[in-house]
Amino acid sequence: MASNGHSSPFGQATPNGNSNSSQTPRRSSRRRTNNSNSSPASSPFPLETPPSRPAGVASTPTTSRRRGTRHNPNATPSTPLSTDDAVPPYSSDRDENDNMETDGQDDTTPVFVWGTNISVQEVNGAILRFLRHFRDARSASESSEAADLMSEGKYMRVVHRIMELEGAESLDIDAHDVFEYDPDLYNKMVRYPLEVLAIFDIVLMDLVARIDPLFEKHIQTRIHNLKSSVCMRNLNPSDIEKMVSIKGMIIRCSSIIPELKEAIFRCLVCGFYSDPVLVDRGRINEPTRCLREECKAMNSMSLVHNRCRFADKQIVKLQETPDEIPEGGTPHTVSVLMHDKLVDAGKPGDRVEITGIYRAMSVRVGPSQRTVKSIFKTYIDCLHLKKTDKSRLQIDDSVNHDANNNAANHEEDDASLYHDKIEKLKELSKLPDIYDRLTRSLAPNIWELDDVKRGLLCQLFGGNALKLGSSGASLRGDINILLVGDPGTSKSQLLQYMHKLSPRGIYTSGRGSSAVGLTAYVTKDPETGETVLESGALVLSDRGVCCIDEFDKMSDNARSMLHEVMEQQTVSIAKAGIIASLNARTSVLACANPSESRYNPRLSVIDNIHLPPTLLSRFDLIYLILDKADEQTDRRLAKHIVSLFFQNPDNSVHEVLDLTTLVAYISYAKKHIHPVLSDEAAEELTRQYVQMRQRGNTPGSRKKVITATARQIESLIRLSEALARMRFSQVVEVGDVAEAFRLLEVALQQSATDHSTGTIDMDLIMTGISASERTRRENILAATRNLVMEKLVTGGPAVRALELLEELKKQSSMEVHLSDLKIALSTLTSEGLVVFHGDTIKRI
């Protein structure tokens, strides 16, 4: 049925009246009927019988071809609209038997616009129906009771509003709505925009005249949001005279050109004023003689500028946006002609989406020559301009999310525009290895450091910010990360990369930043003398990532400013009469060198980092990036490089997301995914947390480890939420929690930290312990414990380690070395069972 739409059913035609005519188009099985059941020949156009010349109607659309030329409202015959209200709005045009008979009485013969399959009456009717009865499916469902009450269509409401406001001169029509209501009308509109829009305007004017005959302003239809938009470089001859929608960036605007619309001439001899002369095919013909009967002087007419009517016109150059340019190409440009209200609607630098008619204009060889070159210049007659700004990530308003309804409308818009893009992202998110893939894609030129990258990924995705309803306190969702490491471990590169990736990244170096430079400062405006508040880096990176390099070189004063930012996410200023609290919902990514510029394994982790614990605890993840001499790593590096040169590079690269995809992925996740903890995950979280806290509080330890605090559990929640986000999952699962714990452990290399001394066991990092080794050690530990329980009495005399070793060897079947025993004993020491001093063991 839809396919028949093109072959133009003739709506108001009598079924029997024209069936014998040779030019009758195939009748559509679904009749498009005009609702206006009482309508007599209501076409604004002169009617002729179809077989003779369908071209009969051509005159009207051609005069209305230039959208600038306005029809004289009086000239438009009215389309009756009166009895419509009785017809059920939505179903009327789809009903087969609807108003058949009334139509049958209609003697109207279809009139076609020359060269097209457009029947004027039919389109007229379709437009009218659309305007009167189209309802937004979304808003309709929301307010169904209102719809029952007021059966006014979406656009009727808009028309009423426009008429009330008086100021507006155009009616924006969403092409999606047209398509939804009547795909056939949509197709016609896109294929023959000049003709259909002319009818659109007439119908609209008619409609307005009906509501308020005194309303004189012309309301112009502006179509926007076409189903598909064309890429600028794909515009080709077949698009000419069609409605197209393209995206681009305005790079140049001409000055405003006044275009003559109506000219009035005055006779220089008798002073007679002529009637307004309209533009005909782009020019105005000066009357050669005075029109007054009495005068008739030749060549006496001169233009009266003051009484002519001009319209604004502007030519705008649109250039392709970088994402549409293929590799090795330069951006294309296209000229866009703006009329009236659209003049100056966009400035150079704006990203816009333009809906208009693609036109070609023949090039004249010279001004004097009438010969026309065979070359054409193309331009777009603009109908609608929409500013789009998609250059940067749209930042979600996760804190003030109460305005949900507002956002919904907006998101709807986005979703339709970027639908397939989002589909692609969703597909990506379903990949089982998306987590690894994302990790690989982050700073792929930096070797290894996978766990650091994972942490940074979590930072980019972020957790959910919570606002506790009653107290007004909020829990931050941003994850703060500190990188501490040896020089030359590409920390700064990571920072630079993150800065590039995050929507509103600020990069500063600690050495050059002052406290006020980071937060906010008050200055006197040199001109007015008023004190003004200037935002610093942290405020500027609100909802972004603030990267602070050389964190350790920062002055203490400046660093202390960060306390508030990192937990409360605000910057409070009380200075020179200004007391303000600014939002600084930013994730802090800082990097620092160890206190002795190289990591000293003899000192504890805390001593190496040498930052106040209050500040440290505000970092969710603290990474120690150590430059370890390790053959394994060396070998991996060597292998990596050799394979780069030998293997087909494609297979090593293809699984990496490119930067733009990564940015799109992150922004989508941040905006649309708000995961919630599942019950099992919450349980796991508490269990692990309790375990972690116990570990920090081992009796006998020197408390130089990072102890678990309440802050840790918050950061664990954030991390697990971020991990769920990466999978586009709305639920935080146990796996996410486990991974969050692992990340926390890996950061700071806690797994390798000796909890009794707080130092990192370098052997542990370098060699690692295999699983079998671990069980062997556990066995020895158990044996030693038994032995100690057996042989030693609490507070009793000390025993030498060698003696114990002998005993152990006797008992156990395995081979036991002194070193093994020492490891076991040190564990027992940490358990508080024994005291191990030099070579002697004492039970306590």
Binding site: A360, T371, S374
Partner: protein, 593 residues
């Protein structure tokens, strides 16, 4: 039928017409509209031309269009143009075919129609793509006129450019003799065309006298038909064979004498004709095009086949030549050779493999004047495209390195060439010895960053005012400096130790062999033989254990050098021997640092 009934060289449009009419006639019975049938399609003219050019050896008779030959080449004849795609000007719509009375006519390969054309509504528009092409920047004189075709090879001891001159002079009689053997009808039309052509030449002369264009500026507007999307990329070197058109009528449309009511609108709409006037920028309607690589510029010498010992011989002589130019410094010469052979093979976010930028240090003002000059000359005679940038403060502060879209209002929107808009495979020498202490202004800083970016990532950012686009380039960078350049980080730093100043000379034959060697070896594929991987890995791990300061970049450099070393011997796969040679070079180089 047999041979062509028309003279393709002098009257290609005749051939276009004839083939079109034939095609229309053959499709007429089916009653199809030729505008739709032949839109975006070739109707046989390309085949005819291909046959003539490549099977009948017609190519050599086609004159090459350049600044000097522009003066005497007649309009509407077949020309050849080699150039770099400098800018893409989008596409142009024209009336492709129309019915004049009862005969079908075509406008393809024409700027305007000699016949009156119907209004646009009655016909289908065709489209063609416009490219603004310039002679390849930095093209060295030996590479300009040489052609890859067998005809040229016989005379190899003569300077190729002279030869080119000679050939062109020979061309005219050729053309006339061809023209003589044509049948009467078309020859008279040819005569007419000739007259018309000479008349228009007067016009060209007139116009160029008052031109504001620099006289040495030469560029071409190439109109390409039936091209698949993005066939040509920016900065590609392409040979176009097509019809050079010049229409005196078009040039008269000067804006000064036009008072048309909508001229302001015309002006704003990028009229290619007014901004690139045909009198200054010749038009070529391209019939056949072919991308050129550097190999196409060098004739395939029959003496040099890829026999290992031949290659080795050429290599040895080249190394000794290079060491001569560098004052008998063999290590530097070896490194220079590897550098000249380097080529970016793989580029991704992860790593760029294959590039080896070289920094020769130890130059003083004096030695730079000797060795620097010698080195430059050597590079110029060896490589087809080379460019030298003197890094003075003043140059950096003023020069336009970055290609930029000219966006000043009222001017035609096009890409202005920056010094870094280079064809792929260009050699870039950056002379840091001339640098004095001074202050860089913002433009200078920008330029330095641009150069740095180019060296590190082989990417040049083009400025399109509202955004910048990164264009991948493939440029070998050589820096000569006093000490290690800190501004421009090179992959390989080699201090020069010249011992003697020797006069450098090379015979034309040798030069030819070396050119062939350099381009051939550069384009050799590297094999992916992985048998040696294990050994390499062990060596690397061992080296890293000995020297903790070794990083990723050092290891990749070794790999690059080893592969280039293997390639320099004509080997496709890397062997232990090559690896050892590289290690030895590295050892000697380290000693100098």
């Amino acid at each position: 039928m047999g041979g062509p009934q028309y003279d393709l060289l002098m009257n290609p449009l005749g051939a276009v017409r004839q083939t079109f009419e034939k095609a229309v006639a053959s499709s007429q019975p089916s009653g199809l509209d030729p505008t739709a049938v032949y839109r975006g399609k070739d109707w046989g003219i390309v085949d005819v031309l291909n046959q003539f050019l490549f099977s009948q050896g017609g190519l050599a008779q086609v004159p090459i269009l350049d600044a000097s030959s522009l003066k005497w080449i007649k309009p509407n004849t077949l020309v050849r143009f080699r150039g770099m795609v400098q800018d893409m000007l989008g596409n142009e719509f024209y009336i492709g075919a129309f019915k004049d009375g009862c005969t079908w006519r075509t406008n393809k390969f024409l700027d305007f129609s000699p016949f009156s054309v119907p209004p646009v509504s009655e016909t289908t528009l065709w489209e063609r793509h416009l490219f603004h092409c310039v002679p390849v920047p930095g093209q060295n004189s030996w590479a300009i006129e040489s052609t890859p075709y067998p005809l040229k090879i016989n005379i190899s001891n003569e300077m190729t450019c002279q030869h080119g001159e000679k050939r062109r002079r020979d061309d005219d009689p050729d053309g006339i003799s061809d023209f003589d053997c044509c049948d009467e009808g078309s020859s008279s039309s040819n005569k007419k065309q000739k007259d018309c052509g000479s008349a228009s030449h007067h016009k060209i002369a007139e116009i160029t006298n008052g031109s504001s264009f620099p006289t040495n500026y030469f560029s071409c507007l190439v109109k390409v038909y039936d091209m698949p999307e993005s066939q040509f990329k920016l900065n590609e070197v392409v040979e176009f064979i097509g019809i050079y058109t010049f229409d005196p009528e078009l040039t008269t449309s000067n804006r000064s004498d036009s008072v048309d009511d909508d001229i302001s609108m015309f002006d704003f709409m990028d009229d290619v004709a007014t901004h690139l006037p045909p009198s200054k920028v010749p038009r070529i309607h391209c019939l056949v095009s072919q991308k050129l690589s550097t190999q196409d510029l060098i004739s395939n010498s029959p003496a040099c086949e890829t026999l290992p010992n031949v290659i080795r011989g050429i290599r040895d002589s080249l190394v000794s030549y290079l060491s001569c130019t560098l004052g008998n410094d063999v290590i530097a010469a070896q490194c220079l050779l590897l550098h000249l052979l380097s080529k970016l093979r793989v580029k991704s976010d992860v790593a760029s493999v294959g590039r080896l930028s070289l920094n020769l240090t130890g130059f003083t003002q004096e030695s730079a004047s000797i060795f620097g000059k010698q080195l430059n000359n050597a590079i110029k005679t060896l490589l087809p495209y080379s460019h030298t940038i003197p890094l003075t403060i003043e140059y950096l502060n003023t020069a336009m390195l970055q290609p930029k879209k000219d966006n000043e209002s009222g001017r035609f929107l096009r890409l202005l060439m920056g010094a870094l808009q280079l064809a792929s495979g260009t050699h870039l020498t950056l002379d840091e010895t001339v640098m004095q202490s001074g202050t860089l202004n913002s433009k200078g800083v920008e330029n330095v960053l641009l150069l740095k970016h180019l060296m590190e990532h082989q990417i040049v950012e083009y400025d399109f005012q509202f955004y910048k686009l990164e264009m991948a380039t493939e440029v070998q960078c050589l820096i000569i400096s006093e000490a290690k350049s800190n501004i421009l980080p090179a992959d390989l730093v080699v201090p020069m130790c010249p011992s003697a100043v020797a006069p450098v000379s090379a015979s034309e034959e040798q030069l030819h062999a070396w050119r062939w060697y350099l381009t051939t070896v550069r384009s050799l594929p590297h094999s992916t033989d992985t048998s040696i991987c294990e050994m390499l890995q062990n060596e690397m791990v061992e080296a890293m254990r000995k020297d903790r300061s070794l990083g990723c970049s050092d290891l990749s450099r070794w790999m690059t050098m080893a592969q280039l070393m293997a390639a320099s011997f004509g080997e496709k796969s890397l062997s232990v021997e090559h690896w050892q040679m590289v290690k030895e070079i590295e050892r000697l180089r380290k000693e100098r640092l």
